[in-house]
C-alpha cells in the first residue's frame, strides 16, 4: 500500500504544481524554475495546447514535468487524497 498524501489542487496551475511538488516531497530548484518559465509563458495551458507541434515542442525538455502535471488544475479532477 503506497503512502497517500492529502492534496487539494489550486485553481492556478502554477500554484497547483508547486503545491503538488511540496505535497509529494519532490522537486528541485530547476523544477521550480522550469515551472515559472512555462507558466509565465502560458498562464492558460490550453493556449499552449492549441499551438502548432513545433511551438509545443519548442518549450524543451525542462517543460516536461510541468506539462505532465498541468492537468492537476482540472475542474473535474477529484482531490487527491
Amino acid at each position: 500500500m503506497q503512502p497517500v498524501t492529502a492534496y487539494a489542487p489550486s485553481p492556478d496551475p502554477h500554484a497547483a504544481y508547486l503545491d503538488y511538488l511540496a505535497a509529494t516531497g519532490r522537486g528541485s530548484q530547476p523544477y521550480r524554475w522550469a515551472a515559472r518559465v512555462f507558466f509565465g509563458h502560458w498562464p492558460d495551458p490550453q493556449a499552449w495546447a492549441a499551438q502548432s507541434l513545433p511551438a509545443r515542442l519548442a518549450e524543451g525538455r525542462q517543460a516536461h514535468p510541468p506539462t505532465d502535471h498541468v492537468l492537476d488544475a482540472a475542474p473535474d479532477a477529484p482531490a487527491r487524497l
Partner: protein
C-alpha cells in the same frame, strides 16, 4: 497531462516519452483505469515488461487524448492513434512498429474487458479483398472469385503467389484513365492491348 485537463494531440504525445507516468500515476485520476488495464493484461498472460510497455505507450495516451474513461474507449480511438503513428512515420521517418504492436495488444485487452467488440487481426494471410484493394472493383471481384476457387486445388502459397501477380496486373490496369484504353508502355504493342476497355 495526467489529470485530464489538456488534450495536447497525438502528434505531441507521440513525440514525448511518458517515462514519468509510472511515478506520477498514483496521484492521477488515470490510476484506476491504468491499473484495470494492467491487471487485465496480466490475466491474459502478457509478461510484466509487455504490460508496462503497452500501458504507457497506448492506453495512457488514449486516456489523455480522448478525455474519457477506459470503459468508454472505442475502436475509433485506436484507429485515430494508429493514423497518428502513420502520420508521424511519414513526417519524421521514425519507426512505429512498436506502437502498432502495442495498439494490437491494447485492443486485445480491451476486447477481453468487454470494451470493444473486435479482436485485432493477428498474423495469417491478408484477405484477398485487402490485397487487391488497389484494383478496380469490376476487376477485383472476379479476381477474388478466381482465387477462392484456386484454393480448392492449389497449395495456399501457390494461391498467394497468383494473388500477388493478379494484384500487380490489376493495379497496372487501374493506372489507365477510364475510357482511355490501357496504359501506354514503350516498345511493341503486346497482345493484351487488343483487349477491350474494362469498365470501372
Amino acid at each position: 497531462m495526467l489529470h485530464r485537463m489538456l488534450r495536447p494531440g497525438y502528434d505531441y504525445l507521440l513525440e514525448r516519452k511518458l517515462s514519468s507516468i509510472w511515478r506520477e500515476i498514483s496521484y492521477s485520476p488515470l490510476a484506476g483505469d491504468i491499473t484495470r488495464f494492467i491487471d487485465a493484461a496480466e490475466q491474459l498472460g502478457f509478461t510484466e515488461r509487455v504490460r508496462f510497455a503497452t500501458g504507457s505507450q497506448v492506453p495512457a495516451r488514449l486516456l489523455i487524448q480522448a478525455g474519457r474513461p477506459l470503459g468508454e474507449l472505442t475502436l475509433a480511438d485506436l484507429a485515430e492513434f494508429t493514423a497518428a503513428c502513420h502520420t508521424r512515420h511519414e513526417r519524421t521517418g521514425k519507426g512505429h512498429h512498436h506502437y502498432l504492436a502495442a495498439v494490437s495488444n491494447t485492443q486485445r485487452v480491451l476486447f477481453h474487458l468487454g470494451i470493444v467488440g473486435e479482436l485485432p487481426r493477428s498474423g495469417g494471410p491478408v484477405p484477398f479483398a485487402e490485397r487487391l484493394a488497389g484494383v478496380r472493383p469490376a476487376i477485383r471481384e472476379p479476381m477474388i472469385a478466381y482465387l477462392e476457387r484456386k484454393r480448392a486445388t492449389c497449395q495456399p502459397h501457390t494461391v498467394s503467389a497468383i494473388a500477388t501477380r493478379l494484384r500487380h496486373f490489376g493495379e497496372f490496369l487501374a493506372l489507365g484513365r477510364p475510357g482511355a484504353g490501357l496504359p501506354h508502355l514503350p516498345g511493341p504493342a503486346p497482345a493484351y492491348r487488343a483487349l477491350p476497355n474494362l469498365p470501372d
